[in-house]
Amino acid sequence: MLGAGGLATITLAPAAMAAAFEDAIAAFTGGAAAGEGGIEISAPEIAENGNVVPVEVSAPGAEEIVVFAPGNPAPAVCNVKFGPLAGSQRLSTRIRLAKTQDVTALARMGDGSFVQVARTVKVTVGGCGG
């Protein structure tokens, strides 16, 4: 079973995966360029179990945050819209990572601009298809 899952991941050409990731970003930003700063990801440097990787994203003043795992078979992780009663623009959850990759988060700020940040997480045992 392990082998079958691994094979499915490998047969997806890296170029196709990168394209899916870029399309997903473009779908969120509408093609606008994303700046830097004002958004943070905290995640472990090394995740021994890719099935449960604690991740926290924070972007003060953001209206919406999306998180991507570009190395996963499906890059989308989650999309969070903050309502009027959100105490801060912060979310903490646990995600699956198939392999070592740059977990990426984008935020749409209150003024309509976009910011982006990425953080490398080394994965010892992959969490997709295992």
Binding site: A8, V80, G87
Partner: protein, 108 residues
């Protein structure tokens, strides 16, 4: 998985306009749709695809979840209140089920 058990941790009181943390956890397999069974057939996706938290009908967060969220989704975020009332939490399953929890809170 009709027996998904939501758990929420909300303080019993909070000061007006001051942020506090809410923690939620729900038991769910979050079958990602990427795995295959013993015969090599893909196991269909069955995850919680949306989570919302409202306070007295006003949104706190509205989150879309994908297959990359771990089993038993844990979600931690901050909220603030300006009146006594009740938080409503909803988890939406791929199979159409909605799991709900509520938690009352008062102004300190």
């Amino acid at each position: 998985m009709a027996d998904a058990k939501p758990r929420v941790k909300v303080p019993s009181s909070a000061a007006a306009g001051e942020a506090f943390t809410i923690k939620t956890l729900i038991s769910h397999d979050m079958e990602s749709g990427q795995r295959k069974d013993g015969d090599g057939n893909p196991i269909p996706r069955k995850i919680i695809n949306r989570f919302t938290c409202d306070f007295n009908g006003t949104s706190v967060i509205d989150m879309t979840l994908e297959g990359a969220i771990s089993a038993n989704p844990y979600i931690e975020f901050d909220a603030m209140i300006d009146a006594d009332g009740e938080f409503t939490f909803n988890w939406y399953d791929d199979d159409g089920s909605v799991y709900s929890a509520t938690s009352a809170i008062s102004l300190a």
